[in-house]
Point group: C2
Chain length 346, copies 2
Amino acid sequence: ALATPALAQAMPEVRWRAASSFPRVFDILYGTLERIAARVAQLTDGRFRIQTFPAGEIVGGLQVLDAVQAGTLEAGHTASYYYIGKDVAFVPFTAMSFGLTSRQMSAWFRQGGGNELAAELFRDYSIVAHTAGDTGAQMGGWFRNEITSVEQLRGLKFRITGLAGQLFNRLGAAATLVAPADIYPSLERGVLDAVEFVGPHDDERANYVRVARYYYAPGFWEPGARLHFMMNQRAHAALPDLYKHAIEVACAEADADMTARYDAANPQALRRLVAAGAQLRFWPRPVLEAAWKANEAMNADLARGNPRFAKIMESYLRFRTEQYQWFRVAENSFDNFAFSAAQTVR
Amino acid sequence: ALATPALAQAMPEVRWRAASSFPRVFDILYGTLERIAARVAQLTDGRFRIQTFPAGEIVGGLQVLDAVQAGTLEAGHTASYYYIGKDVAFVPFTAMSFGLTSRQMSAWFRQGGGNELAAELFRDYSIVAHTAGDTGAQMGGWFRNEITSVEQLRGLKFRITGLAGQLFNRLGAAATLVAPADIYPSLERGVLDAVEFVGPHDDERANYVRVARYYYAPGFWEPGARLHFMMNQRAHAALPDLYKHAIEVACAEADADMTARYDAANPQALRRLVAAGAQLRFWPRPVLEAAWKANEAMNADLARGNPRFAKIMESYLRFRTEQYQWFRVAENSFDNFAFSAAQTVR
């Protein structure tokens, strides 16, 4: 049906294309973009349609920001830390080692200045963005051998990228870049010793359990990983206000929805992984302590060379200090008793 | 301006009134309703206006469900556990002792059947509802004297209501109902020994620190407290789909937004309370263990007498078992190291 003039003016027909950084097989990740698009359609009586594409169909998973900046695509769903090659300042908006948890990230973005700092950075790339989904704390990945000391990290060929890879290199490991399709055979042949990924739900699909059965917790470099829905600035500016609000609120819903999906799916996936032979291990405390110290030093070094990163981290770390102190009081004291009470209270 | 016919048909002018269960002084609680209304207005170009009222202006804070059921008001923002007098089955949709945390509640509502179970109950009261905000884990309240053993709970005159009050009575305390305005003088004169409320941000305004300085953590009876935006079924059914979606998504945003506001405000409020003389204390483990056992017994007793409560709790507790197991792996192991690392790693 053709819209009548008054309606066409208030709610014009708009078509956008949006690419995800994730392939379809990672259903919660890719599905979040589909759900944002569906919600925007509902909020505009179907007049604003966003067509979604998995990684690789229009652009590669790591090219989403560039395509949106260039206007090749109006929008994309991606993790800002993929663009560390442009500026390390992109990293804190996704995840930092020993950083804010997913809930604390929500508080920082909404109430602690995080959204404003992100907007400043994205503006330089002609991008407007909203946070749009979080994985929750991730797992530490799959290892062929047990790690019982810091020394065992020396020379470890670990498939881990970005700032977390630089951190492991400081600990003596050899962060190694291997194309996704080569990870499994590389582990099998011992070209790789370990690989990190997301959490049980996504890790189960990758099936690394068969070639590297020690499964470590936690992924201390991703205590949450926040995604962003990025939009080309000009495309965004051309939207009626109602459509801008529809996108903003659909992204806010995605923040809650994606984590809920992971939280519901992960327990069952972890149970199946353990049944398939996964050996669950926690990092030895000396490893965590060495990583904590190396991370503090690395962030300080990076801040010295990058005023933008320094400014973001000043806000981020001040907020982290407050959040960590407060979360120890009510949240963590509850969790520490309740999560194990069924096993420990007799 | 008058809407032209096509627009008036798609987006008619609608006016609703919505009451909050909270007075204006509790700015995050009451403000959440204001923000939902503002967001709905943005999503409808100002054509769907919800006028908001704090507790006591149209109906009392505990009369919101009744007013919405009767159609006196189209909507309200409230906690379903206030209606325990009608049915104890209302309680799990807000908070249960040693129950799901706020994040786990999101997973249960969205992915574990919680929303469907809530809808079944609300339908009997001619109400359609969405979850709309969560406080996060609450504090355990203000005590005139230190609690160092389970025995000290005997005869304790504790201002605590609902199912948590029944739990404390099982532990030997005397849960006492005192009107809000009388709490402070009752603590001062020793008519009350203790009072529980929310968390630092709201507790600071009540100023109980001056008459009961021991401040306990955690509020194990509210590891999160989820609010609902309730709508009269007929009023809801009369809305165009776009308006229904606008409300639903505004409520989903409120879930994320309210917790972020509490998380950002609580650390600073706690610091000021400690400066004002609050003595922070954690529950002794024997108190937590006695409460855990009494709570399991109480819930089993209640389920025997109420098939609806039994059905809800069957879903809730099954989900809790999975969530608790999974959250110990990545989330809790991260928290336990990171939240104190700045103090413990040398």
